[in-house]
C-alpha cells in the first residue's frame, strides 16, 4: 500500500461483467461442436454440479488466503476428513438412507453435510493453532508448515480409517436421473448444485451484508487498519480459518457421496484443482472462484467429450489462457 493509495478517495468498485460471462461463452462456443442438444444439456448440467462442489472446496481456500494471506496446503486434508465424516454418519444411519422416504433421505444427507462441516471446522481450529499460527506472515515457512500438517493429517486419516476405500451409497431418493426427452440429469447433481448455490449465496450475504463480513473484507484490504480500529483480527482469522476448513469438509463430503467412496487420496487430487480454480478466479476472490469453478468444470466436461486426450490437461490450459488474458485472475483482489 503506497502513500498515494491511502490519500485517494475510495473508488466505487465497478462490477465487471465479462469475466462472469466466460462460462456462458465457453458453453455457447462448445455447443455447435457437441452437436446433439441432449448431450449438451447433460454435459452442462454435470459440469455445473461438479463446478458447485469444486466451488464449495475452493471458496474455503480462497477465503483463507484472501483474509489471512495463508496459502493452506493442508486444505486437501480437510477435504478428505469431510469425506470420512460423511461415512461416519452414513454407516449407522443405513436404514434412513435406504428408506423409501424423501424426508429421511434428505435428513441423512443434511446430517452428513453438517457433521462434515462441524468436524472439519473443529479440526480447522486445531490446525490453525498448531500449524499456521506460529508462521503468520512468512510465506515460505507457511507453505512448508502447512505441507507438514497435511502429511501428518493424511497419515492420521490412514491410521484411523485404514488405507482402503470406504464405500458410500447415495440415499435412495437421490439415485437415478431426471429424464427430459433425450437428456438425462442425475438427481444427485441437482442436489449438489442447490447446495453449492446456497453456499455461494450464504457467503455473499455474510460478506456483503453483515458486520462480520465487512470486517473480513476490510481485513483483506488492510489488516493493520482494522486492528487500529480496535477489532481483534486474530479472532476473525481463527473464525475464517474454521469456516474455510468447514467448507472444505462440506465439499469433500459431497464429492465422496458423488463418487460413492471415501479415500484420503481425494484430498491431494482436489487440492490441485482448488489451486487452479482460485488462481483463475483471482486469489482471495469468492465471486471469482465461483465463476472459475464453473468454468473449469464445464471446460473439463466439454473437453472430455470432444477431445478425451486433452481433457486431462484442460485445467492447465484454461488457467494459462485466463492468465494470459487477465494476469491476476478473473476478479483480482486489490492489494494482492
Amino acid at each position: 500500500m503506497t502513500a498515494l493509495d491511502v490519500g485517494q478517495a475510495l473508488p466505487r468498485r465497478r462490477a465487471e461483467i465479462l469475466p462472469a460471462l466466460t462460462p456462458l461463452i465457453v458453453a455457447l462456443a462448445a455447443a455447435p461442436f457437441i452437436g446433439s442438444f441432449s448431450t449438451f444439456v447433460t454435459l452442462t448440467a454435470a459440469g455445473l454440479a461438479m463446478g458447485m462442489m469444486i466451488f464449495t472446496m475452493a471458496s474455503g481456500l480462497t477465503l483463507v488466503f484472501g483474509m489471512m494471506d495463508v496459502l493452506n496446503f493442508g486444505h486437501g486434508a480437510f477435504i478428505a476428513l469431510g469425506a470420512y465424516a460423511a461415512t461416519l454418519v452414513f454407516a449407522p444411519l443405513m436404514s434412513w438412507s435406504s428408506a423409501d422416504s424423501f424426508a429421511l433421505n434428505l435428513a441423512v444427507f443434511l446430517l452428513a453435510a453438517i457433521a462434515a462441516a462441524l468436524i472439519c471446522g473443529a479440526f480447522g481450529w486445531a490446525f490453525e493453532r498448531l500449524i499456521v499460527r506460529p508462521v503468520y506472515g512468512q510465506h515460505l515457512k507457511q507453505i512448508l508448515a502447512t505441507i507438514g500438517g497435511a502429511i501428518i493429517a493424511e497419515q492420521l486419516l490412514y491410521a484411523l480409517f485404514g488405507p482402503a476405500q470406504i464405500p458410500l451409497t447415495l440415499p435412495r431418493t437421490f439415485e437415478g436421473s431426471f429424464v427430459f426427452g433425450q437428456a438425462a440429469i442425475e438427481k444427485y447433481r441437482v442436489l449438489a448444485t442447490l447446495v453449492g448455490l446456497t453456499v455461494f449465496l450464504g457467503e455473499m450475504l455474510v460478506l456483503n451484508r453483515t458486520k462480520i463480513g465487512l470486517l473480513i473484507r476490510a481485513g483483506v484490504e488492510n489488516r493493520e487498519m482494522v486492528e487500529a480500529l480496535g477489532y481483534r483480527v486474530d479472532r476473525l482469522f481463527v473464525g475464517v480459518f474454521m469456516a474455510g476448513s468447514a467448507l472444505a469438509g462440506l465439499g469433500g463430503a459431497m464429492m465422496a457421496l458423488y463418487r460413492g467412496q471415501a479415500h484420503a487420496a481425494i484430498g491431494g487430487e482436489f487440492l490441485v484443482l482448488c489451486f487452479i480454480v482460485i488462481i483463475i478466479g483471482g486469489l482471495g476472490s469468492v465471486g471469482g472462484s465461483f465463476v472459475a469453478s464453473i468454468l473449469v468444470a464445464l471446460i473439463a466436461n466439454y473437453a472430455g467429450f470432444l477431445v478425451p486426450k486433452l481433457a486431462l490437461v484442460s485445467n492447465i490450459l484454461a488457467m494459462v489462457a485466463v492468465l494470459l488474458w487477465r494476469p491476476r485472475g478473473l476478479y483480482p483482489v486489490s492489494g494482492r
Binding site: L71, I131, P134, V135, H139, L140, K141, I143, L144, A145, I147, G148, G149, I151, I152, Q155, L156, Y158, A159, L160, P163, G268, L271, V272, F275, I276, I279, L283, K309, L312, V313, N315, I316, M319, V320, L323, P327
Partner: protein, 356 residues
C-alpha cells in the same frame, strides 16, 4: 579445498558425519553385502543429487517448487524410453539423457518465465498444478510410457548384473555390472554435486541468496531477479533430470510410482528441510537420513506396532504400523520448520547462520 569451491563444511561434528556418509557410500559394495544394502546406497546417491538440486531453489533462492519430481521423471523416462525403444546401447542412453535434459529445460523456462514474475506463492501453486497434470499425462499416454505399468528395459552390457569386470573376486566381492552401475551413479552424483557447490559459491549463487533475503533490494541493486530465478530453476531442473536418469538406469525400470509420484516430491522436501535449507551439505545428510529411515525405520516400527498390539493399547498399533512411517517424519518435518530451519546442518554448525 578448491574442489569444494572453498566452501568446506564448518564444524567438527558436521565434518565427521559427512566423511562417514561419503566413506560409506564410496565403499558401499565392499562394506555391506546383499542387494538391499546396495539398493539403499544407490538410492541415497540419487536422492543426494535430487535434494541438492532442489536446495538450490528452496534453500538458496527461496522459491518453493513442486515440479521438481516432474523433472526427475523427465530424466527417468527419457533414459528409460530411449533404452526401451532403441535397445541397450550407450548411444541410446546419451540420446535419452539429452532429450530429457532438453525437455526439462524447456519446461523449466516456460514455468519460470510464466510464473516467477509474481509472488513465490503463485509459483508454488502453478508448479503443483503442472506437475500433477504431467503425472496424469504420463500415466495416460500408455502407448508411449507404458502407463501405470511403466517400462522395464535392458541396460548396456557392461552395466548388466551378469557382466564380470575381472574374473576373480576383489576383496571377496565379484565386480558385477551392478557394482559398475553403482560406481557410475556415484561418480556422476559426486561430479554434479561439486558443480552445484561451484554454482552456489559463484557470484551468481550470491545473487540468488540476495534474492532470497530481499528480492526488492536485489532488484534495486540492478539484478534482474526473474532472470536469476529462472536460471536457478533451469539448473535445478537439469540436476533433477540427471538424478532421474541415474535412478532409472539403476532400477532398469521406469514407471509413475518410481519416477513421478508426488510422494517423491514430499520426500525431497523433507530431506532438504530436515538436512538443512541453504546448505548443500544438508542435502547429503537429509538424503542419507531419509533413505536410511525409509529402509530401516519401518522394521523398528513394525516391532513397536507388534509390541503395542501385544499389550493391547488402543490406536498405537495403527500409528506404529510400518506404512505410517511418513507420519513420524512429517512430525519431524514440522518441528524442523519451526525450531530448526537450518536443519541438522544448522544444529551441527552453530557458528554460521544459514537460513532464517
Amino acid at each position: 579445498m578448491n574442489i569444494l569451491s572453498e566452501n568446506p563444511p564448518r564444524g567438527r561434528a558436521l565434518q565427521i558425519l559427512l566423511i562417514l556418509i561419503v566413506l560409506a557410500l564410496t565403499l558401499a559394495p565392499f562394506l555391506f553385502h546383499g542387494a538391499k544394502a546396495l539398493n539403499v546406497a544407490a538410492k541415497t546417491c540419487v536422492m543426494i543429487l535430487l535434494a541438492a538440486s532442489y536446495d538450490l531453489l528452496l534453500g538458496y533462492t527461496g522459491v518453493v517448487s513442486f515440479a521438481h519430481v516432474m523433472f526427475f521423471g523427465v530424466g527417468a523416462y527419457g533414459v528409460g524410453l530411449a533404452l526401451y525403444a532403441l535397445g541397450p546401447s550407450w548411444g541410446a542412453l546419451a540420446l535419452g539423457l539429452a532429450a530429457g535434459a532438453a525437455l526439462s529445460l524447456m519446461l523449466a523456462l516456460a514455468i519460470g518465465l510464466f510464473s516467477l514474475r509474481v509472488q513465490s506463492i503463485f509459483f508454488a501453486m502453478v508448479t503443483l498444478a503442472v506437475a500433477y497434470a504431467f503425472n496424469v499425462l504420463a500415466s495416460q499416454l500408455s502407448d508411449l510410457t507404458g502407463g501405470e505399468d511403466g517400462r522395464s528395459f535392458t541396460v548396456p552390457a557392461v552395466l548388466q548384473p551378469s557382466f564380470r569386470l575381472v574374473h576373480d573376486k576383489v576383496f571377496g566381492v565379484a565386480i558385477t555390472g551392478k557394482i559398475l552401475t553403482y560406481y557410475l551413479v556415484f561418480a556422476v552424483v559426486a561430479a554434479a554435486f561439486l558443480m552445484l557447490l561451484r554454482v552456489v559459491n559463484s557470484p551468481f549463487g550470491r545473487v540468488l541468496q540476495a534474492i532470497r533475503e530481499n528480492p526488492f533490494r536485489a532488484e534495486a541493486l540492478g539484478y534482474r531477479t526473474i532472470f536469476h530465478r529462472t536460471l536457478a530453476t533451469s539448473i535445478s531442473a537439469l540436476g533433477a533430470t540427471l538424478a532421474g536418469a541415474l535412478f532409472s538406469l539403476w532400477l532398469r525400470y521406469v514407471g509413475p510410482d518410481t519416477a513421478l509420484s508426488f510422494s517423491i516430491q514430499v520426500d525431497v522436501l523433507v530431506m532438504v528441510v530436515v538436512g538443512g535449507m541453504g546448505s548443500l551439505y544438508g542435502a547429503i545428510i537429509g538424503a542419507a537420513l531419509f533413505v536410511f529411515a525409509e529402509s530401516y525405520l519401518q522394521d523398528v516400527m513394525a516391532g513397536l506396532s507388534q509390541a503395542a498390539a501385544d499389550v493391547s493399547l488402543p490406536l498405537l498399533p495403527a500409528l506404529f504400523n510400518p506404512d505410517r512411517w511418513l507420519l513420524w517424519l512429517g512430525l519431524v518435518f514440522v518441528l524442523a520448520v519451526y525450531f530448526a530451519p537450518a536443519g541438522v546442518v544448522g544444529a551441527l554448525k552453530a557458528d554460521e547462520a544459514t537460513w532464517e
